[in-house]
Amino acid sequence: MISFENVTAIFPRGAGVKDINLRVNSGDFVFIIGPSGAGKSTILRLIYMDIFPDKGKVKVYRYDSSKIKEKEIPLLRRKIGMIFQDFRLLNDRNVYQNVALSLYVSHVKTREIKTRVYEVLNSVGLGHRVHYKPDELSGGEQQRVAIARALVKSPIVLLADEPTGNLDPKVSAELMILLKKINKEGTAIVMATHNYKLIDYIPDARIIQMDKGRIISIS
């Protein structure tokens, strides 16, 4: 499903990731852990092809970073659910519209959009905040909107960057149980996090440990 072959990606100012080899299969639940600045978010950005490797190649689904055409990137991203570390919600529209947008760009029918959006908002416990704008929500609520937006398109891979940073332990636990269920149904999940407790929820998860842009252990 996802493979990294000798991937190096360096930012103009230096830091980045180096010599990454990695394989994620459908059905995998992968944690990427490591200190701040280790390169976890960079790995995720390489997967959704926001940045491209300077060396090596990234293959996701049937797309290859060295060959993909610009036109194909949206197609790839429609298959991937992404929960960004900084949420990236749009303050000019409400919670419903933020989540629905994800389906509009995939050309889903309005009627279907409606049912799916309400369903997913309820599953993350935001049924009562549908008409709020993101800046009227608490940090944890915003994070859950971001999660809903990623889940609503039933992705084949879910990328989650520190998805519980603003959630209290109870909500975090609920989220992990939800993700576990989704994973069981066949969605691969790649999660970058500092919260080592989360790992306990997924006993059969694979763990990739990073530091200073390199993988230092992988299971």
Partner: protein, 291 residues
Amino acid sequence: MTVFFFLIKEGFKGLIRSQYAGLFTIFIISISLILIGLGFVISRDMVFAVQKLKSQFELEVFLKYAATDREIEQFYAMLDSMPEILHASYISPDSAAKRFKKEFGEDIYSILDYNPLPPSFTIELKPIYRNVVSVEGIIANIRKNPIVDEVKYRRNLLLTLEKYQRIIFVIATLVFLFFTFVSIVLVSNSIKMTIFARRELISTLKLIGATNTFVKVPFFIEGALEGIIGAIISCGFFYALTYVANNFFYHFVYYKIQLDLKFYVGLISLGFLFGLIGSLRTVGKFLGKIG
């Protein structure tokens, strides 16, 4: 269909959200269209006036006294057959004398005891030949006939009119090109500004899998809308202008501005085009730079 309506809605919303940038564009487009429209009306009416002056333009062909009736008839026939000539009319010495009396109030025979006026023709040319070059050619042709004594026309008038017509045409074209250019550049800039203001929306859309078209279309719609609204404002201006000019100032200017539906449709099409081209120019180039 869902997507189509969604994009149209986003275009409208964008226009409202962009606020000042949008107002700017609309304002600039309406000013441009007003100036282009004025340029058009003024040059049209001036060209019209020149044309009217030109339509009064005639050649006068004076024949020799010795010309026989037969020769005159043949000459008449020749004139009639010339493709450049719209209409030629014969003025016999007698009718010339009558005209003289009408114009000067005195009988020519009371001054002299013979009629000094030669037989002549006045010739109206077809409009396209009413310019110095053609006229000189036609005259050269007519002069070949031995019975022709002299051909007169108001060369200077014609030259002046031609010069004016050319100047008017050049100025109108320049005005048009200048404001077309300004409009399109300013629409582009305004759309750039809008894109810049919504870079977050755009990069988020791209990140969640929107195609370029999906991101672009609302901007095109926004640009076109701005163009159309700007054009409608300029239409309002011209409507008010003709109303005021024709109802209140008619007595001063002895001139009625006439604008038909075509003119208004033209303005709106121009506005639409400016808006659309302005956004087309920018969106493609500028969008790539965002996320």
